[in-house]
């Protein structure tokens, strides 16, 4: 544990990306293979199953600290992190543990299968053997939320440095469905073979948003345009007679979309397509809300298959005839894709994302204005001669979104954030007028500066009317312009609407609460 805790401490005590990468690379050069593998797993979101619920952990920690549970609950929002709250509240200890990370992970995996009383005894005894930083790391391992200021990308870069390999190749090897129990460091990183998992996806290419004038990205002839769909980004992989679908979050989604399995009947093997899974009916995409009903459902009832069927709308081809073709220019890849899909019968579950032809930026800008009517969020611009790259690379792919919808709303509840935002009120509930009543319709967390959050925090403290645990009802006085990408009817919400990507666009200091928008104004945006 000590080596890994030292690594955590180094990462945590610097704001420099280079220093973090250097610390990780040093770990990858010196740790045992087992520890390296676990480190990769943890920093790429491959956590072992939660061994214990957070409720039990809170109870046991309060008991061990000799304080009532309510007191721990009061301290938690001040600290902003449960693992840390527990580490700090336990009686001070100067013991340190020297076992390797892999031994601790084996311990955590073992806990999951123990009877609860034994699990409790084991955890209490483990806490007693650790100093407070080690306790914090151990609690993070237990609760499975290992996010400590290192992205998978930084970890990948450090691993590439330490093993003297290409970063993109490493990124590719880390994709897919391995766990430290199913592979070894050497198989995963050092000597990948033909035995590679047939389901392994490629790292996704991502886009930057266009902020200024679109003409700044270059001559229109260099660029290919298509609609930006509001679905689930996914890769469809057909290899070895099987079909797999991966989300951008590296989640295997094959079973959630059974209707896509038919792709096997229409398409050749040895291909990987990049595209968007959309709820789609009668030749048009359905609102995201319909797709939402499909997300998170492992088995899909027949009624839902009927009311919200999905298709894969493909826009890129990464593998063809079993060959990785990511280095070929976009236009070539796209031509191969078109050739494969354009003549498929209408009952095929894969369709092409149409390209938008244009001669100059002004024409494209006019087209972009029609996005919302087409159920699109705007346009995607891809460099015609560009390869398919891993991650977000400036100047290759751009998203050119339409302006969001906006509404002026009154803040009625505030809650403090977590982690870096602990003690700051950053999570708000907003309402619009319905007669004399304020009807809550959305929450929003982002879009303001730290200085504004500081100011609002002071205001919330001075204007709290009622407390419900961590939530405060505030005087309905502050007005914010709320921006969102879409709005749909919803039976689950009191207001009757659900928003897509709500955030605070600005604080309307100039507007009194009485002049905020009404529920009628909001519903009118559904068009």
């Amino acid at each position: 544990m000590q080596q890994f805790t030292d690594l955590f401490r180094q990462i945590d005590s610097t704001t420099s990306t280079n220093a973090k990468v250097a610390a990780l690379a040093a770990f990858f050069r010196t740790a045992s293979d087992e520890d390296k593998l676990w480190c990769i797993a943890l920093f790429s979101g491959r956590r072992p199953k939660r061994a214990v619920t957070s409720t039990r952990l809170r109870e046991w920690a309060a008991e061990a600290a000799g304080v009532p549970l309510w007191l721990l609950e009061e301290a938690y929002p001040v600290v902003g992190d449960l693992s840390e709250t527990i580490a700090l509240i336990l009686p001070p200890s100067d013991r340190q543990d020297a076992q390797p990370l892999s031994a601790w992970m084996t311990f955590v995996l073992m806990l999951a299968d123990m009877p609860e009383e034994e699990r409790k005894a084991q955890i209490l005894s483990a806490w007693g053997d650790l100093d407070d930083t080690q306790r914090f790391v151990f609690n993070k391992l237990l609760t499975g939320g290992f996010r400590v200021g290192v992205s998978q990308r930084l970890m990948t870069r450090a691993l590439a440095q330490a093993t003297d390999q290409d970063e993109a190749a490493i990124a590719h090897r880390l994709m897919g469905q391995w766990t430290p129990q199913t592979t070894t460091f050497s198989d995963l990183i050092l000597s990948p073979s033909a035995q590679d998992d047939l389901s392994r996806p490629y790292p996704f290419q991502l886009a930057h948003g266009i902020e200024g004038d679109v003409a700044d990205i270059g001559p229109p002839t260099d660029w290919s345009a298509e609609w930006k769909w509001d679905g689930i980004r996914g890769q469809m992989i057909l290899r070895g007679g099987e079909m797999h679908i991966w989300s951008r979050g590296e989640e295997l989604m094959t079973d959630r979309f059974p209707e896509l399995r038919k792709a096997l009947d229409f398409l050749p093997q040895g291909i990987v397509m990049d595209g968007e899974i959309l709820a789609y009916k009668d030749g048009t995409p359905l609102p995201f809300n319909d797709l939402q009903k499909r997300i998170g459902r492992k088995t899909v009832p027949a009624s839902l298959l009927k009311s919200a069927p999905v298709v894969m709308q493909a826009y890129d081809l990464l593998e063809h005839d079993g060959q990785d073709i990511r280095q070929r220019p976009f236009t070539e890849r796209r031509a191969l894709l078109d050739g494969m899909i354009q003549d498929l019968p209408p009952d095929a579950p894969v369709i092409l994302s149409p390209q938008v032809t244009f001669t100059d930026w002004a024409e494209l800008a006019t087209m972009r204005e029609t996005s919302r009517d087409r159920m699109a969020e705007g346009l995607m611009l891809k460099r015609k001669d560009g390869p398919y790259l891993a991650g977000r690379k400036r100047g290759e792919w751009w998203k050119w979104k339409i302006d969001p919808l906006t509404i002026d709303a009154v803040m009625i509840y505030a809650q403090s954030g977590h982690g870096r935002r602990a003690n700051l009120f950053t999570d708000f509930t907003f309402a619009v007028w319905n007669g004399n009543e304020l009807v809550p319709f959305t929450k929003a967390y982002s879009g303001l500066t730290d200085a504004e959050f500081n100011k609002i925090t002071r205001w919330v403290r001075a204007n709290t009317q009622e407390r419900f645990g961590p939530v405060r009802r505030v005087t309905p006085e502050l007005v914010f312009e709320i921006a969102f990408e879409g709005i749909a009817e919803s039976k689950r919400h009191k207001s009757g609407v659900a928003l897509r990507f709500p955030r605070m666009l600005r604080w309307r200091h100039d507007k009194p609460a009485q002049e905020a928008n009404t529920l009628t104004d909001l519903k009118a945006l559904m068009g």
Binding site: D12, S13, T14, T15, A65, V67, P68, W70, L71, L72, E74, A75, V78, V79, G80, D81, E84, T85, L88, I89, P92, F136, G149, H418, G419, R420, R421, A422, N423, L424, D450, T457, R458, R461
Partner: protein
């Protein structure tokens, strides 16, 4: 308040009717007894001040020409029908708990306090009393300080490592109290120590009345930083983030404050390091100190008052909250000072 209340709580501050004086008042009054020289406790505008001889020069330095009388630690003074004495609070040099006795009933106002001796300011001495008015800035069980020596070792290691790499070590600390405690405890053999003008002015006042501090060099406009590569620079937090600190390059920044115990706040400060060193009582310290007074009635002021008074009530004390205007929102204040 019952007739026998030794102290009452008014909108100007804590008041003693028997002696007609206030304790650390926040509105101008005739007679003020002051616990310590921090600006939220020793304010402008009172007609007469009473404080310890160690507090007096710092107060004069900060408040100018005030009518100030001194009362040494442990000495009793009769004011009207009340007997007043001052006892070390261990918070900053000269800091005192204010003990007030009327007709055999004893009330003690803690001011700000720290039970752990820091080897620099006068060590906290618990006072037996009937009622105790306690701060609770860190009145949550997640605040448990590590021994001072451990934190100082971390600071010395950090400074030495920076010096070895030719970097300055910029350490943010409140200019009266924390800065001098750090100065008194760092290892001056590591390298030269530079100070911000606000810190150095307080140093001068304290040196004059006999507090021992290592040699320091004040940062002035004509100081050439390159002659002090690898120095430790102690300055108020506001200066570390400002143009003032730009002359020290390359540098690592750090802050010494009890709030640095929390990772979220450490990260929000965007400093390279945060050292959890506080001049206030931690959770254990608050509980032990309160127990040591033998008091049954506890009034809690600035800090996590609601939570802490509920906890004390569950422990069997007659605890209540008193609202004061001492750095009311301590966490927010802490983002500037402590």
């Amino acid at each position: 308040m019952s007739r026998s209340s030794v102290l009452t709580f008014t909108d100007k501050g804590i008041y003693c009717p028997a002696g007609d004086f206030y304790l650390d008042p926040w509105r101008p009054v005739d007679r003020a007894v002051i616990s310590h020289a921090h600006s939220d406790h020793a304010r402008y505008g009172h007609r007469h001040y009473l404080a310890t001889p160690q507090s007096a020069p710092v107060m004069r330095h900060r408040l100018g020409n005030i009518a100030l009388d001194t009362l040494p630690y442990g000495e009793a003074r009769q004011i009207g029908d009340a007997t007043v004495s001052l006892h070390p609070a261990g918070h900053v040099p000269g800091s005192a708990q204010i003990r007030v006795e009327v007709d055999g009933e004893v009330w003690v106002f803690s001011g700000d306090y720290k039970p752990e001796p820091d080897g620099f300011c006068e060590a906290f001495e618990p006072q037996r009393c009937h009622a105790f008015i306690s701060e609770c800035t860190f009145g949550l069980p997640v605040f448990n300080w590590q021994p001072q020596q451990m934190v100082m070792d971390e600071i010395n290691t950090w400074w030495a490592a920076n010096r070895a790499e030719g970097r300055f070590s910029l350490l943010a600390a409140y200019s009266f109290g924390k800065a001098q405690r750090l100065l008194a405890q760092v290892d001056p053999s590591i390298g030269p120590i530079l100070t911000h003008g606000a810190v150095e002015a307080t140093n001068a006042v304290l040196r004059q009345i006999g507090y021992h501090l290592p040699d320091t060099v004040q940062v002035t406009a004509d100081l050439d930083p390159s002659a002090y590569k690898g120095a430790l620079v102690i300055a108020p937090p506001s200066a570390i983030g400002a143009a003032w600190a730009k002359r020290f390059k390359p540098a690592q920044t750090a802050m010494a404050s009890g709030w640095m115990r929390l990772r979220g706040i450490r990260r929000r400060r965007a400093m390279d390091r945060g050292f959890a060193l506080s001049d206030h009582a931690d959770w254990q310290g608050l509980n032990d100190s309160i127990r040591a007074t033998g008091a049954e009635r506890i009034f809690v002021t600035h800090g996590y008052t609601e939570v802490f008074s509920r906890w004390l009530t569950e422990q069997g004390y007659d605890a209540s909250i008193v609202s004061t205007e001492y750095s009311d929102d301590s966490l927010e204040q802490a983002e500037v000072a402590e």
